[in-house]
């Protein structure tokens, strides 16, 4: 009927698909292929080594260290961000002297959302540089001057192998809370008002309403957020590459998977091995996303 429709479809798709295929799809596919080789990345020749790379990974203490650090981030970061963001969303919505338990924010909630979200729009190196200097290990450093004011001794922060990973963790949480606050807030305001009014009629207070009505209705959003934050915890690179000594130091205390991929692939001339780490990262991400979606599954509430 409409002539030339197929030519039009093909014409519109061919360039973007070619671009996407060359720069996105093919590298992903190649990574799986190279993970089975001993390719150095420099010479064009390489051999198939089967699963040798993966076997070597199990004895690579640096890789295992990286995996453990990612596990720490994974265990703490998503939970901390979601709890803080929910807590702030709770205060924004329930703390107001507004109407009952409906979604009416405290005064100035617009300002709070604007401020909390700010770290999300700035590039990671900017944030990493600011915090690297704030965590200055000398006694007159910014954090140390605050800590000493309240009567504690000063620490090395990013220079202290016991604390460095937690400094990174803090910056990740600090930067992400605003995003999830805005997300939860948006999800809350899409809940119909009459649900809150019904709860209120039944005599539920604001706090009860929040925990018994709002949170269950937000469960889908919380679940998705958890998966996104888990991916962030597994993927963290820029922050560590810029902020920590080495990077990954001191004493490999902030070594992570992405750093291992970069170092093996571009510094040690082990592109095949780096690809194998990438494949492990892929499957870990997939498995964790599946487990989390499964474990936190609840009956979906439609409204």
């Amino acid at each position: 009927m409409r002539h030339g429709q197929y030519r039009f479809i093909v014409g519109f798709l061919v360039m973007p698909l070619a671009l996407y295929g060359v720069f996105v799809v093919s590298p992903f596919v190649q990574a799986f292929y190279y993970s089975l080789t001993n390719w150095t990345g420099v010479s064009p020749e390489f051999d198939f080594v089967g699963l040798q790379n993966f076997e070597n990974l199990t004895n690579d203490s640096l890789f295992l260290r990286a995996l453990r650090n990612n596990a720490v981030l994974l265990a703490v970061m998503p939970l901390a961000v979601i709890l803080l963001a929910l807590f702030f969303a709770f205060l924004l919505n329930v703390g107001g002297r507004g109407a009952g338990s409906g979604v009416r924010g405290v005064r100035g909630s617009g300002f709070y959302k604007l401020a909390f979200f700010l770290p999300q729009v700035l590039s990671v190196p900017v944030i990493a540089v600011i915090w690297a200097v704030i965590f200055d290990p000398t006694p007159t450093g910014l954090v140390n001057s605050v800590v000493r004011r309240i009567g504690l001794g000063s620490s090395g922060w990013l220079a202290d192998p016991d604390l460095a990973l937690y400094c990174v963790l803090w910056v990740l949480v600090w930067g992400s809370v605003g995003f999830y606050l805005v997300l939860f807030n948006a999800a809350m305001s899409s809940i119909p008002r009459d649900i809150f009014e019904a709860a209120l009629l039944d005599g539920a207070g604001r706090v009860t309403t929040f925990f018994r009505v709002t949170i269950p209705l937000l469960w889908d959003t919380i679940q998705t957020s958890w998966v996104y934050l888990a991916i962030l915890a597994l993927d963290v690179y820029a922050l560590i590459a810029v902020m920590t000594a080495g990077p990954g130091g001191p004493n490999n205390s902030t070594q992570v998977i992405s750093l291992q991929i970069a170092q093996n692939g571009f510094q040690f001339g082990r592109a095949g091995y780096a690809s194998a780490i990438g494949v492990v990262l892929f499957f870990v991400t997939l498995i964790i996303a599946a487990i989390m979606l499964r474990a936190t599954r609840r009956e979906r509430i439609e409204y």
Partner: protein, 301 residues
């Protein structure tokens, strides 16, 4: 219904004096005030935590290195505007230019390709439609690090390492998934009748897209456009590996930090940081509704 209205009345008017004479609600309104004060205290506390580092960085851009580390809380004795000219000479001007060129090219190409794909997928039935859609959707979930090593060699084989065209093409390719996803749902919401009328008037498929559908999709294009401007301007991982000799601003900041560890010109570093921060903050303040809506919509659906 009366209960609802009363509960609402108890607290709604912030203009009402705090002493509420409604005896029946006295206890609850006192706890209301308590909750309100507590909420503000906590929320202001976190705002301070978020904003102080940025304010401090702004101030540090006008201090000497000795002042930054020796007396981090005090104002500079003299405002050192010369930090900015030294930062510019250390390459910030060049990095900024690189960022502007790459982001301009990258965003224009992303918007063109992204809306073309999204439009075809949203409005035309053909075999493979769903497969192509899922191919793009999958791109939003995969960790970039899985691909980074092979991607480096792909770009190298094209001879496009450290070139504008290399970064523009790679940025576009990696921005397509979210752009397609976003514009796809946007084109679905647009009415079909105007396009039908244009077809009857003898407009071609391409003409309908450029002259009817794109103008109608302006609000969506604005949201996703701002999202892509910020995302590509802040991009660090891709240029860090693919453009070592032509650094963009985010990369330049990281390099400057590394070199200040021995050069020790921290005032200039913070001046560079401020140059990188200010355009983004201005865009954010002007368009913050679109930015927040655009960024969060990817997670919500």
């Amino acid at each position: 219904m009366t209960v609802t209205t009363r509960a609402g009345d108890a607290g709604t008017p912030t203009s009402t004096p705090p002493r509420q004479t409604d005896h029946g609600r006295k206890g609850s309104s006192a706890s209301d005030v308590g909750a309100n004060v507590f909420s503000h205290a906590v929320l202001i506390g976190w705002s301070v935590m978020v904003l102080v580092p940025f304010a401090w960085a702004l101030l540090a851009s006008l201090k000497t290195s000795r002042e930054i580390f020796g007396s981090p809380w005090s104002l500079p004795e003299v405002f050192r505007w010369s930090n900015y000219s030294r930062a510019w000479d250390k390459g910030v001007g060049e990095y900024l230019l690189n960022s502007i060129v790459v982001v301009t090219g990258g965003v224009l190409l992303t918007m063109l390709f992204g809306s073309m794909v999204a439009y075809v997928l949203a409005r035309y039935e053909f075999r493979g439609n769903r497969i192509i859609y899922y191919l793009f959707a999958a791109g939003m979930m995969f960790p970039v690090f899985l691909a980074i090593v092979p991607l480096f060699f792909v770009v190298q084989n094209f001879g496009m390492l450290s070139t504008y065209q290399g970064l523009i093409l790679v940025y576009t390719a990696y921005s397509l998934p979210f752009t397609v996803f976003f514009m796809h749902s946007f084109f679905r919401t647009l009415p079909t009748s105007i396009a039908e009328a244009a077809f009857i008037d003898g407009c071609s498929h391409t003409g309908v897209f450029f002259r009817v559908m794109l103008p109608m999709a302006k609000p969506g294009l604005l949201s996703i456009g701002i999202f892509n401007v910020l995302g590509q301007f802040n991009q660090f991982v891709l240029p860090a590996f693919l453009s070592p000799e032509k650094p963009v601003l985010a990369q330049g900041i990281a390099t400057l930090l590394a070199s200040q560890r021995y050069e020790g010109d921290w005032g200039a570093l913070f001046a560079a940081l401020t140059i990188a921060m200010v355009p983004v903050v201005v865009v954010y303040l002007i368009f913050y509704r679109q930015v927040q809506a655009g960024l969060t919509s990817g997670t919500l659906k």
